[in-house]
């Protein structure tokens, strides 16, 4: 139920001093309100316990951004728009600039403040992992004076902080020593705009000679507080960036987070995504020129594990022409060895929808023909895929003309009946064996035949993955 404005008192002192005096006069009674993007939502819903509010919106002492040689000092009343417009933030603190851009729409960026975001203490807040990664320090102010403390200790539990009832956050200080680090910010949510994160990451790292020289990893929405993953950081610092490290980092990160099930996601999903995001970040470090030597290794899988997602997808498309499958495979990286690769392929393949299966089927040539029919997608079969098809079907070419004609007829019948090309794992099979299989499968009902075709495609993919590893 909506609140009645009659029940609320509100004042707007014109200085920070007057504000902290008021807070000190009745500690815990006056609720500071800046841009109102949280407080007014509670108010509208009738959930605002405080009855006395003190406006700190636009207090000049809180709304300024200053820089010195070694740090930037952001007034707690600075809005997301202020952050986005600040050149030093844009240049040296991309994690924070990105988080500011992610937060709400423009109207909320014009009103929401960094201090408000910290005090509101939502574990899902997008800007807080960035502050952890940059090792922010906070200056808190009260009538008793100022105190400065590391931000990493500020959140003590769900919506609990070290802020005393008479205190305000005055300034957020970020050291400028990370400007040369590679940064990675990613938010996983239902949409890219105006959606609260299911998981978000802010990470910084510096690779040297293929090793992780230094790293900071912070995540949101995976614990009661925004969390810096110190164990994961320790596990990777000094190590060379290879598949083993990615596996270790994923495992450590998944064990370190403490997610919950809620309306937006499940704990299991969040932990998995957290692991993936850490792996993605390390892959980014590996792709930096300082780590370049590793990319030249002969280990096909090791290199593939570290490729950017789109390149990794293209690299394995020749093994199975379904983009759903390539996406699933890329998401399951890093894969330790051939067994893990084949297991991931099988799991991915079985999880796909029939439409994804169809896409894979249609990337093959009809048995007896050397290239695929009209490609169903803009992605025509790769040269590699065409070459493999020719190898797989090499026995068919040796058949006599009668078998070839019978095969062509049966193929046509199959296509009319099931509306797609006939898929069989042709490796090692003669034309007459294939003909026999084809004629048997023409008797199948649609459901059975779809499963059988999918199983054949699974076998084809497995054979191709093995070839791909040994290229």
């Amino acid at each position: 139920m909506r609140s009645n404005p009659h029940d609320y008192e509100m004042v707007a002192p014109n200085s920070l001093q007057a504000t902290v005096s008021l807070l000190a006069s009745e500690p815990g009674v006056w609720l500071p309100i800046a841009g109102g993007t949280d407080v007014m939502v509670q108010y509208a819903a009738g959930n605002l316990p405080a009855r006395k509010l003190v406006s700190i919106w636009n207090l000049p002492e809180l709304r300024r951004i200053e820089t010195s040689a070694d740090e930037i000092r952001i007034g707690a009343g600075s809005t997301y728009t202020d952050l986005r417009k600040n050149e030093i933030v844009a240049r040296e603190f991309p994690l924070l600039a990105t988080a500011a851009r992610w937060t709400g729409g423009i109207a909320n960026q014009n009103r929401g403040t960094i201090g408000g975001n910290i005090v509101n203490a939502s574990p899902a807040a997008d800007s807080l992992p960035a502050l952890l990664a940059y090792e922010a320090e906070l200056i808190l102010v009260s009538i008793r004076g100022e105190r400065r403390l590391p931000y990493v200790n500020f959140h003590t539990g769900y919506k609990k902080t070290l802020l005393r009832p008479d205190e305000l956050i005055q300034t957020v200080c970020l050291p400028r020593r990370f400007s040369q680090y590679i940064s990675h910010a990613r938010k996983v949510g239902a949409r890219s705009a105006q959606a609260i994160s299911k998981v978000c990451i802010a990470a910084l790292g510096r690779p040297t000679d293929g090793r992780v020289e230094d790293v900071r990893i912070a995540l949101g929405s995976i614990a009661p507080v925004p969390l810096r993953l110190r164990q994961t950081e320790q596990a990777v610092i000094g190590r060379s960036i290879d598949s083993a490290l990615l596996l270790l980092a994923r495992k450590t990160a998944m064990a370190e987070v403490r997610p919950i099930d809620d309306i937006r996601s499940t704990a299991r999903y969040r932990a998995t995504v957290a692991g993936n995001l850490v792996v993605e970040f390390l892959g980014l470090l590996a792709s930096d020129r300082n780590a370049v030597e590793h990319r030249q290794s002969n280990d096909v899988l090791g290199r593939w594990n570290l490729l950017p997602a789109d390149e990794a997808a293209t690299a394995i498309l020749s093994c199975c022409g379904s983009k759903g499958w390539t996406r699933g495979m890329v998401a399951r990286r890093p894969l330790a060895d051939e067994d893990a690769l084949l297991a991931a392929s099988e799991e991915t393949w079985r999880s796909l929808a029939p439409s994804d299966w169809m896409e894979a089927f249609h990337s093959h040539p009809r048995i007896g023909i050397s290239r695929a029919p009209e490609p169903p997608s803009p992605q025509s079969p790769s040269t590699q895929s065409v070459a493999w098809s020719a190898q797989e079907q090499s026995n068919v070419g040796d058949a006599n003309d009668a078998v070839k004609i019978a095969l062509a007829d049966a193929n046509r019948e199959y296509e009319q009946r099931f509306n797609r090309i006939f898929i069989v794992c042709a490796t090692g099979k003669s034309a007459s064996e294939i003909l026999e299989i084809l004629q048997r499968r023409l008797e199948n009902d649609a459901e059975t035949e779809l499963r059988e075709a999918a199983e054949q495609q699974r076998q084809i993919t497995e054979i191709r993955l093995k070839k791909w590893l040994r290229r």
């Binding site: 909506r2 609140s3 404005p5 009659h6 609320y8 008192e9 509100m10 004042v11 707007a12 309100i33 841009g35 109102g36 993007t37 007014m40 939502v41 108010y43 509208a44 819903a45 509010l53 406006s55 919106w57 636009n58 728009t81 851009r101 709400g104 729409g105 423009i106 109207a107 909320n108 014009n110 009103r111 705009a193 105006q194």
Partner: protein, 165 residues
């Protein structure tokens, strides 16, 4: 700001709206949206969600787009407000109002004032925005009729007109 004699708890608050100085008596925690609509009769800003998600209550406060449902009126004291009613010059439409008409950017009309004001702020900072910038600039404004394509086109049109002039 002084205590008003008429009603205990109410205060006098002054701001300019669409260029005119206004003095009102209101509880400090009244929503700017309600004051605009009920006290000043400016019903262009609409209440959609009432929690800052939909943007239909957007107005400009000192040139910055805000959700007026989330602004306690006391925080508007001393500011300069622009609502959709003040965007055109008298009976002459603002160019964005024209292009929204031309492209069918308004269907049921609930989101339209907010959309136009969000577009206005965008164009005042980026006079020739890319489509990605338009999408981002309007990302806090929801259209329940889902007529987004026409809206995006309408926002891009002023720059196209200038380029072709």
């Amino acid at each position: 700001m002084t205590n008003s004699r008429e009603s205990p708890g109410k205060v006098e608050i002054a701001f300019t709206v669409n260029g005119e100085l206004k003095k009102i008596h209101a509880y400090p925690m009244e929503r700017l949206l309600d004051v605009l609509r009920l006290d000043l009769g400016l019903t262009g800003a609409k209440e959609g969600c009432g929690e800052g998600e939909c943007g239909s209550c957007s107005v400009l406060m000192d040139g910055a787009l805000v959700n007026s449902c989330l602004v306690p009126v006391l925080q508007a004291a001393g500011t300069s407000l622009v609502t959709i009613e003040g965007l055109g010059a008298g009976s002459e439409l603002h160019i964005l109002q024209e292009t929204f008409l031309e492209y069918g950017g308004a269907q049921c009309g609930i989101c339209t004032p907010g959309m136009i004001l969000a577009a206005f702020q965008l164009l005042s900072e980026k006079p020739a925005p890319t489509m990605a910038e338009i999408r981002e600039g309007l990302s806090g404004n929801l259209c329940r009729c889902t007529g987004y394509s026409q809206i995006l086109e309408a926002v891009g049109e002023p720059a196209r007109r200038r380029a072709n002039a």
